[in-house]
C-alpha cells in the first residue's frame, strides 16, 4: 500500500474527503436527534429552529458527505487501475474546499434564509438546497468528471470492469443532479423529475458505485481471482439498470401520473432485490474461496455490512411496500421512514466508511492498525440503526392501520405513536455513540505516522 502511495502521490490528497465525510455524518446524526426531539415535543419554541430546517439539513448534509465519499473513493482507486496518477492533482484539493464551502453556504442559507429567497432555499425534499447552490455544485462536480475523464484517457492500462462501473456510476450521479434543477409549472412534472434525482441516485448510479467499489475492495484485500469476482459483476449491473430504471415507476403511483405506472412500477421494482441478492451471494462465494488472511478486517466488516444492508434495507424493506396495492396504504407514513433508515445507512454509509478505512490509514503510513475501535463503532451503528428501523416500522404499521385504514386524524395517531418515537430516539443515541467512535478513530488513523504518541 505504501509503495502505491509513493507511486501515486495524489492519493494522500483524498484523505480529507473521508475525514470530512465522517465528520459531516456525525453532524447529520446530531440533526437527526434534534428532529427526534421535535417529534416527541412538537412545541415550536423548544428548539432554536423548526423541524423542516433540521430535516432539510439532515438530508443535504448526507448528500454532501455521500458525494465527498464517492468522489474521494474514485480519486483513491482510479490511479492504480489505469496505471497513472490523477491528471490534475491540485484540482482534488480545490474541489474538496469548493464542496465544503458550498456545503457551508447551503447550511447557512437553510438556517437563516428559509422562506426568504427561493434561489437560496427551494424546500423540495432532497433538493432543498436553493437553485443557486444546485447549479454551483453541479458545475463543481462537472470538473470532477473532467478530471476523471482526463485521467482515464491518459491512462496506461485499459480500465477493468469494476472501475468502469464505478466511473459510470460517478458520472451518472453528476448528470442525474440536473433533472431536479429544471423548473416545471406543474407539480406532477416537478415531482416526476425530482425522483429522477433521488431514485436514479439511490437505485441506479449509487448502486453502480456500490457494485464497483465492492468488487475493487474484494480484489485488493483477498486472493480471489479477478475473473471470479468479475463474473457476477456484469449480470449485477445489467439487472440493477434493467429493474431500477423502470422501477422508477414506484414513485409514480399517486403523484398525478397515468395509471399504467402502477403496473410498470410494481412489476419492475418488485424485481429490484434480485441484483442485490446477487451482490451478497457473489461476495459470499468470493470470501469462501479466499485463503489470504484479511488484515484490515474493519474495512471488510463495513463492505460486507453494506452488501447485507443493501439486500435487507433496500431490497427486502423496499419490497414490502413497493407493490401499489400495499403502497396505497403505506405511502407517506413511517413505513417509508423505516425503509429509508435501513437502505441508506445500510448501504451507502457502510460503503463510504469501508472506503474510508482503506483510504485514510494507508496514506498516513499505517499498513496495520488496531481494529477494535472500528469494530466497536460498526456494531454500535448496527445496533442503533436496528432499534430505529424496528421502532419506525412498528410505528408505521400502527399508523397505516389507524390513519390510513380507520381514518383516525393525523394528530390523534401521532399522539399514539409517541412511545415508538421515544424508542427511535434511543436507537438514534446509540447510532450517535457509534458515529463518534468512528469519527474519533478516523481522526486518529488520519494523523501522519510520525505524530503517533503510542
Amino acid at each position: 500500500m505504501s509503495e502505491a502511495a509513493m507511486e501515486y502521490p495524489s492519493r494522500a490528497r483524498t484523505k480529507k474527503y473521508f475525514t470530512g465525510a465522517v465528520l459531516l455524518f456525525v453532524f447529520q446524526l446530531i440533526l437527526g436527534i434534534l428532529m427526534g426531539i421535535e417529534f416527541v415535543s412538537r412545541d415550536v419554541s423548544l428548539l432554536p429552529f423548526t423541524f423542516d430546517i433540521y430535516k432539510s439539513l439532515h438530508l443535504n448534509v448526507m448528500i454532501l458527505w455521500l458525494l465527498l465519499g464517492f468522489v474521494g473513493g474514485v480519486y483513491y482507486l482510479l490511479p492504480a487501475e489505469v496505471g497513472r496518477d490523477i491528471r490534475y492533482p491540485k484540482l482534488i484539493d480545490v474541489q474538496f474546499w469548493f464542496m465544503l464551502l458550498a456545503g457551508i453556504g447551503i447550511i447557512v442559507s437553510e438556517l437563516f434564509f428559509t422562506g426568504r429567497n427561493w434561489w437560496l432555499v427551494e424546500g423540495r425534499e432532497y433538493v432543498e438546497a436553493g437553485r443557486f447552490w444546485d447549479i454551483l455544485l453541479t458545475l463543481g462536480l462537472l470538473t470532477v468528471v473532467l478530471n476523471i475523464v482526463a485521467t482515464v484517457l491518459g491512462g496506461k492500462r485499459k480500465m477493468s470492469a469494476p472501475m468502469l462501473v464505478l466511473c459510470w456510476g460517478a458520472v451518472g450521479s453528476v448528470l442525474m443532479y440536473v433533472p431536479g434543477e429544471i423548473w416545471f409549472n406543474s407539480l406532477v412534472a416537478a415531482e416526476y423529475f425530482r425522483w429522477w434525482v433521488v431514485h436514479y441516485w439511490v437505485e441506479a448510479t449509487f448502486e453502480l458505485i456500490a457494485a464497483g467499489v465492492m468488487a475493487l475492495v474484494l480484489l485488493s484485500m483477498t486472493d480471489v481471482r479477478r475473473k471470479m469476482i468479475e463474473k457476477y459483476l456484469a449480470i449485477e449491473v445489467a439487472l440493477i439498470l434493467l429493474t431500477g430504471i423502470i422501477g422508477q415507476g414506484h414513485h409514480y403511483y399517486w403523484i398525478g401520473t397515468p395509471g399504467f405506472w402502477l403496473f410498470l412500477g410494481g412489476l419492475f421494482s418488485a424485481l429490484e432485490p434480485v441484483p442485490l441478492f446477487l451482490m451478497v451471494w457473489s461476495a459470499y462465494k468470493d470470501l469462501k474461496e479466499n485463503k489470504k488472511p484479511v488484515a484490515n478486517s474493519v474495512a471488510l466488516y463495513m463492505i460486507i455490512g453494506a452488501s447485507l444492508g443493501n439486500l435487507l434495507g433496500a431490497g427486502v424493506w423496499g419490497f414490502i411496500h413497493t407493490l401499489p396495492q400495499v403502497n396505497f396504504f403505506t405511502h407517506g407514513t413511517q413505513v417509508t421512514a423505516s425503509h429509508a433508515h435501513f437502505a441508506t445507512p445500510g448501504t451507502y454509509l457502510f460503503l463510504v466508511l469501508g472506503m474510508a478505512y482503506i483510504a485514510v490509514p494507508a496514506p498516513s503510513g499505517r499498513t496495520t492498525f488496531p481494529q477494535s475501535r472500528g469494530k466497536l463503532g460498526f456494531w454500535l451503528l448496527v445496533l442503533g440503526f436496528l432499534n430505529m428501523i424496528i421502532a419506525l416500522l412498528a410505528a408505521g404499521i400502527v399508523q397505516v392501520y389507524l390513519q390510513r385504514i380507520q381514518g383516525v386524524s393525523f394528530m390523534d395517531v401521532q399522539n399514539m405513536l409517541l412511545p415508538f418515537y421515544g424508542w427511535r430516539m434511543i436507537g438514534g443515541a446509540i447510532v450517535l455513540a457509534g458515529g463518534l467512535v468512528i469519527a474519533f478513530d478516523m481522526l486518529m488513523l488520519g494523523r501522519n505516522k510520525g505524530q503517533d504518541i503510542d
Binding site: M35, I53, G115, R116, L241, F328, G407, Y421
Partner: protein, 197 residues
C-alpha cells in the same frame, strides 16, 4: 455474451423505454386529467393569484420539510394534497391558518418567515390545484375528508409514563441483538485461536 455488451443492453433497453413512457405521461390524453396550474387561481382583494406562483411559494417556505404533498416529503405533519377540501374550500380560513400556524402542535406561524397575505393566497391557489389532481384514488377516504375545520386533537408530549411502558421491550430487543453480536465476535476469536494451534 461479452460482459460490456450485457451491461450496455441493461442500460439502453430501459432508458429507451423511459422516453415513450415519459411522453405518454405528459403529452397525451392520459395526462390531460390534471388541471393546468396557470388556470387555477384564487382572488384576494381584487387580485388574482395562480397555482404556479403558489408552487414557487410552497417551495420557498419549505412546507415539504414537515408535510407531504402527493405523499412525498416529511412525515411530521399531515398530507396537504387534499387540504383545500379539508378546509371546506375556504380560501380565507386556509390562508389564515398558514399565517398563524399552531405553534403548540408543531406548525410555526408562516408570518414568522416573512409570509404575507399575498404569498399565503398564492399557496392557497397551489393547494386548490393539488386538490384537483387525479392521483389514482390516493389517499382514499378518511379523516382528510373532515369538512371546514383543522384537526381538533391537541398534541401530547412523550412523558415518563409512556417510556416505562415500553422500556422493558426495548431492553429485551437490545439484549437480544447484543447477544448475537457478542456470540459472533467470540466465535471468530475462537476460530482464529484454533487456526493458530
Amino acid at each position: 455474451m461479452n460482459r460490456y455488451r450485457l451491461m450496455l443492453i441493461g442500460l439502453l433497453i430501459p432508458t429507451l423505454l423511459m422516453i415513450p413512457y415519459s411522453v405518454i405521461s405528459f403529452y397525451t390524453d392520459f395526462a390531460n386529467k390534471n388541471p393546468d396550474p396557470l388556470s387555477v387561481t384564487v382572488e384576494f382583494r381584487g387580485k388574482s393569484y395562480d397555482a404556479v406562483e403558489g408552487k414557487k411559494a410552497f417551495e420557498q417556505y419549505q412546507c415539504m420539510g414537515c408535510h407531504t404533498i402527493v405523499g412525498n416529503g416529511a412525515y411530521f405533519a399531515p398530507d396537504l394534497t387534499r387540504a383545500y377540501k379539508r378546509f371546506g374550500e375556504n380560501d380565507a380560513a386556509l390562508a389564515g391558518f398558514m399565517l398563524s400556524g399552531t405553534p403548540a402542535k408543531g406548525m410555526p406561524p408562516m408570518s414568522g418567515r416573512g409570509m404575507g397575505d399575498e404569498d399565503a393566497y398564492r399557496v392557497v391557489a397551489f393547494l386548490k390545484y393539488t386538490d384537483r389532481l387525479d392521483t389514482n384514488g390516493w389517499p382514499g377516504e378518511g379523516s382528510w375528508d373532515r369538512d371546514g375545520s383543522p384537526d381538533s386533537a391537541g398534541a401530547k408530549k412523550l412523558i415518563g409514563a409512556d417510556i416505562w411502558q415500553i422500556i422493558l421491550g426495548i431492553l429485551l430487543f437490545n439484549l437480544m441483538v447484543f447477544a448475537v453480536i457478542l456470540n459472533y465476535e467470540r466465535g471468530k476469536e475462537d476460530a482464529g485461536r484454533r487456526k493458530h494451534e
